[in-house]
């Protein structure tokens, strides 16, 4: 539900059903709400059977890339005799995205249960949950919940008397967006600078501490207990459009809507219903101008493109963008697009880990050029220069942070060119003093 707002009739609250209900935070409270039945059930199944069930559900990774979760788990080697690891990605730093925070704050045991099931399925005895350093409250709630889960036998050397060992270690980040990238996160846990690694090798072969590792997002793992409880068929049935996108999705909506918050919808729900019904539309007298639908790293959509857009992986691609982590940034007609695109470029320039030339130089130069345009000192050739820099920043680096910086620039120039031209011609007053 769109916490802090009550559930809207067009929502399908599964993961968010207990947001705002502090009673769900304790072990007993979670059990009263049906919790830990799925973990008990899973321990009576074979790891392969669990993986098959998750595959059958159609669950795809909620961290941004949408990779099928069951398939990812099946890449883990079997019978290799080595330790395996599960890493839960709770770094949530993509501008616009704030859903994992609510899962951890309100339903910590939903995440712990999902981690325990996944760890068992991939043959891991230990799971590291990497929580971004700024998430002090989620860390406190998770710390208390993990301690309680150990005390009640849901974690430890003999989970619920099954003879299986599952440990969870909470690892606090220290401020670096890039540590949300999976291989950077592994380096960070190992006590290194958070530089992404070149792939291959892929994490399932050589991940954390060079051992087979699976990494999943908080929301992905939180979905797992519901799939085991209610079955793959039920989950697959949560689908209003493309059968490749199943289940519910938490959509974080921020920016110029009346009721920002997290809304949980069935895959395939119209974007219009979300923006105008659930979130109450724009402020009085304002109209919708643009939406960045998947966290800041995806192309910008115009209001017209959102008209008939369906919220699932394929639906958003069909309208020129990506669902990503489903952090929707909504902008009304008061928005200065050039200014916002500059602010996003500045974010990526600040967060680049600087090991690839195209990214280190490209994010810095695009930011400077946008700054110059905003200061009224842009040159006629600047837009072409921005596009050629963006071209060099796309598809050429170790990770996709570089591409993410280029996405709003390229789509912004294509779709809102007149606003750039207004600064270049002097028709618009400078928005920044310096350059």
């Amino acid at each position: 539900m769109g916490y802090p707002h009550p559930a809207h009739p067009k929502e399908t609250p599964v993961l968010s059903k207990h947001f705002g209900d502090a009673g769900a935070r304790t072990f007993d409270g979670w059990v009263q709400r049906g919790g830990y039945a799925a973990l008990r059930k899973a321990l009576g199944m074979t790891p392969d059977a669990i993986i098959e069930e998750v595959k059958g559900s159609g669950l795809r990774g909620r961290g941004g890339a949408g990779f099928p979760t069951g398939l990812k788990w099946s890449f883990m080697p079997k019978g290799d005799g080595k330790p395996h690891y599960l890493v839960c990605n709770a770094d949530e730093s993509e501008p616009g995205t704030f859903k994992d925070r609510e899962i951890m704050r309100w339903t910590p045991h939903q995440l712990i249960e999902g981690c325990a099931i996944a760890a068992y399925a991939i043959g891991a005895e230990r799971c590291y949950i990497y929580i971004r350093g700024e998430f002090t409250e989620p860390l406190r709630v998770m710390t208390a919940a993990v301690a309680e889960a150990y005390a009640k036998g849901a974690l430890g050397a003999d989970v619920f008397g099954s003879g299986k060992r599952i440990d969870i270690v909470l690892h606090r980040g220290a401020g670096a967006y890039i540590c949300g990238e999976e291989t950077a996160m592994m380096n960070s846990i190992e006590g290194r600078r958070g530089n992404p690694r070149i792939k291959p090798p892929f994490p399932a072969q050589a991940g954390l501490f060079a051992l087979p590792t699976t990494i999943n997002n908080v929301e992905t793992l939180a979905s797992v207990s519901h799939i085991l409880n209610r079955g793959a068929e039920w989950y697959k049935g949560l689908c209003l459009s493309n059968p490749k996108s199943t289940g519910t999705k938490l959509i974080s909506v921020c920016g110029h809507v009346q009721r920002p918050g997290n809304y949980e919808v069935t895959m395939g729900t119209p974007m219009k219903d979300l923006i105008f019904d659930m979130c109450g539309g724009m402020k009085p007298g304002r109209t919708l101008k643009a939406v960045i639908p998947g966290g800041s790293s995806v192309p910008i959509m115009t209001a017209a493109e959102t008209e008939d857009c369906l919220l699932d992986y394929e639906g958003v691609v069909a309208r020129g963008s990506m669902l990503g982590s489903a952090g929707m940034i909504v902008m009304d007609d008061s928005t200065d697009m050039v200014y916002q695109i500059w602010r996003l470029a500045r974010f990526y320039a600040h967060e680049s880990c600087a090991q690839c030339t195209q990214c280190r130089e490209g994010t810095a130069w695009t930011t400077k050029i946008l700054e110059r345009i905003l200061a009224g000192k842009g040159k006629a050739s600047d837009l072409d220069l921005l596009l050629s820099l963006s071209e060099n920043m796309t598809g050429k680096t170790i990770c996709v942070l570089s591409d993410s910086c280029a996405a709003p620039i390229v789509s912004g120039i294509a779709k809102f060119r007149s606003e750039f031209d207004a600064y270049l011609s002097g028709a618009r007053q400078p928005a920044l003093a310096m350059a």
Binding site: R101, R132, G133, F135, A174, G175, E190
Partner: protein
């Protein structure tokens, strides 16, 4: 929550990893296959105890974990939350990334700079009470504008609320 212990750049280094703090660190060793993996947690402990991480403290961490001081410094400087110089008693971070910017974060930042007396980003107020810094997306964009004061996370801050909030931090 109270502010962090205030350290001075020129005070001689007193070991952090003794007694209770050392015990806390050693309790982490079994949770990781290498001691190096305890580096981020160890640095957090230094910052909790001293308010910032000095070069002698980095050298001490290196010694305890079997690393070199240069390596530790390389890691410390990668992460924005570790302070490599002393900061005000209360460290304030305000999000100004696009989603918050759309909702008026710049005005919140200006109010913070004014009301704390810091004047500019990164500077410490003359009374040593505050340092204000900009931070990229705090993962709470639906509650614009979030700020952090030390470990306290405060949502939906407006310029009007700033003075009242600061009163809670002496």
């Amino acid at each position: 929550m109270s502010g962090t212990t205030h350290g001075h750049a020129d005070a001689p280094h007193q070991a952090v990893f003794t007694g209770r703090v050392l015990a806390r660190l050693e309790a982490l060793f079994p949770q990781y296959p290498t001691k190096q993996a305890c580096l981020l947690p160890a640095l957090w402990m230094v910052q909790e105890e001293r308010g910032w991480i000095s070069e002698p403290a980095m050298a001490e961490v290196a010694e305890v974990l079997g690393l070199t001081p240069a390596y530790v410094k390389g890691v410390v400087t990668f992460y924005t939350m570790y302070h490599t110089h002393p900061v005000g008693r209360h460290f304030i971070q305000v999000c100004t990334t696009s989603p918050c910017n759309l909702c008026g974060a710049e005005a919140v930042m200006e109010a913070l700079l004014r009301e704390t007396g810091c004047g500019e980003l990164g500077a410490t107020s003359p009374d040593g009470r505050f340092t204000v810094s900009e931070v990229e997306c705090l993962g709470a964009c639906g509650f614009a504008t979030p700020i952090m004061i030390n470990d306290d996370f405060i949502e939906s801050v407006t310029p009007e609320r700033v003075a009242g909030i600061l009163q809670g931090y002496k």
